[in-house]
């Protein structure tokens, strides 16, 4: 068993104990994952204070509803990363956040990343697959899909940024997602 495997199993164990109401397990999960999840919230929200509020929301919700994690089906860090991204995007859409896009500043501050979480993240095959499949798209499809995914942009924002009509942006992305799906399902 590699160090990454051990770390993954430890985190999985903490998630299972968390679901059973073990408060110490929540702290263990927080210590192991908060740097990674804060990076995600910060990237999407572009504001430190908002990102901290989002992160607080993530762990409070995790505590209240830890039963949503199914250890049989998902890698814990990948599940948590998706959970954090979704909460951050919900916050963005709630209209409470006046975002000044600052993803670059965020990225510069934290370039050291989180090697532990990184090493634990998901299986190599899936990682390679999604990169391969994105690589099959046209540049304008890929760039806009990435901007939606990493910066939480809406169709309207992407259309404005790209200087194209909303309908054009929608059809670009929809065709891109269609192609991505076919590829991810392994038919390409």
């Amino acid at each position: 068993m590699t160090a990454a495997d051990t770390a993954r199993e430890r985190l999985k164990g903490a998630m299972v104990r968390l679901a059973a109401g073990d408060r110490a397990a929540l702290e263990e999960v927080y210590r192991a994952t908060s740097v990674k999840l804060f990076g995600i919230c910060y990237r999407i929200l572009g504001d430190r204070k908002e990102a901290e509020d989002a992160l607080q929301d993530v762990y409070v919700n995790l505590w209240r509803r830890a039963d949503r994690f199914d250890p049989e089906r998902a890698s814990p860090i990948s599940w948590l990363a998706v959970f954090a991204r979704n909460r951050a995007i919900d916050r963005l859409r709630s209209g409470r956040v006046q975002r000044e896009a600052a993803p670059l500043e965020a990225a510069a501050e934290v370039a050291d990343a989180a090697p532990l979480a990184e090493a634990m993240l998901i299986d190599a095959e899936r990682t390679a697959r999604v990169h391969h499949c994105l690589g099959q798209l046209e540049g304008y499809q890929r760039d806009n899909i990435r901007a939606a995914f990493f910066d939480g942009r809406t169709y309207a924002e992407l259309a404005e940024a790209g200087g194209v009509p909303l309908g054009t942006m929608k059809s670009w992305i929809r065709r891109g997602m269609q192609r991505l799906k076919t590829c991810l399902e392994g038919a390409e």
């Binding site: 679901a19 059973a20 995600i40 409070v60 990948s78 965020a106 989180a114 990682t127 999604v130 929809r174």
Partner: protein, 230 residues
């Protein structure tokens, strides 16, 4: 992709806003197939999140999280219910069966009702005066979150409209000022959330900009409606 598949992809990517987002949230709660399609996208795109570097949050954040968990009245009940659900599911797996039954025994004396399914969303469609416009309200009990869609409304620059919950007894509870032309999502405190059920009444009042001023009576009721399950 079918239109439904497309919406799932857009929902997972986070592209939606307004009514489309509301529709997506409704489907997430109501249709397992839709939720599974969203989960497909989330799972497949998740490796990309590894590209985002980490960042260290404020040291005081952990204390804030603990404080919030401990402060919420009824929080224990919520987590107990969640725990019961978890163990019910876990108990289906052989590895968990033994632990699961122990946990259920421990939880039983607390007389926590064991919910069999997540409560579905409640919705209200409130007609505005004699106009064709409607205010759409969706409440997600699961997340104690309310979505108010006022996309057809425009601001007159002089008034705001405030939405109120009419509890069976006691005073009206403000659900916030409606933002014309927008879809707003808000988290409800547990006490207010507990009052929202099938048939719960709401009224919309006309107020000065910013909502009802403290210490003054609410303005005239301009519309009303009630929550219903879907």
């Amino acid at each position: 992709m079918t239109e439904r598949d497309q919406l799932a992809a857009e929902y997972a990517l986070g592209l939606l806003e307004g009514e489309d987002l509301l529709a997506g949230r409704g489907l997430m709660a109501a249709e397992p197939e839709f939720a599974a399609m969203v989960a497909f996208w989330e799972g497949r795109l998740a490796p990309l999140l590894d590209e985002i570097g980490g960042a260290v949050p404020d040291e005081a954040l952990w204390a804030r999280i603990v404080a919030e968990i401990e402060a919420v009245p009824g929080g224990e009940v919520v987590s107990l219910k969640a725990r019961v659900r978890f163990w019910q599911r876990a108990a289906a797996g052989a590895a968990m069966a033994a632990v699961g039954s122990v946990a259920l025994l421990v939880l039983q004396p607390a007389s926590t009702p064991a919910p069999t399914a997540l409560p579905g969303p409640l919705v209200a469609s409130i007609p505005i005066g004699d106009t064709p416009l409607r205010l759409g309200v969706t409440y997600l009990p699961d997340r104690k979150e309310m979505l108010v869609s006022a996309s057809g409304l425009t601001a007159d620059g002089v008034h705001d409209h405030e939405l109120w919950l009419v509890p069976p007894e006691g005073e009206l509870r403000s659900l916030g000022v409606v933002v014309p032309g927008r879809e707003a999502s808000m988290a409800l405190d547990s006490e207010t959330a507990a009052l929202i059920r099938d048939g719960a009444q709401m009224v919309l009042t006309r107020e000065p900009i910013g909502g009802k001023p403290d210490g003054q009576a609410a303005g005239p009721v301009v519309a009303e409606g009630a929550f219903a399950t879907i």
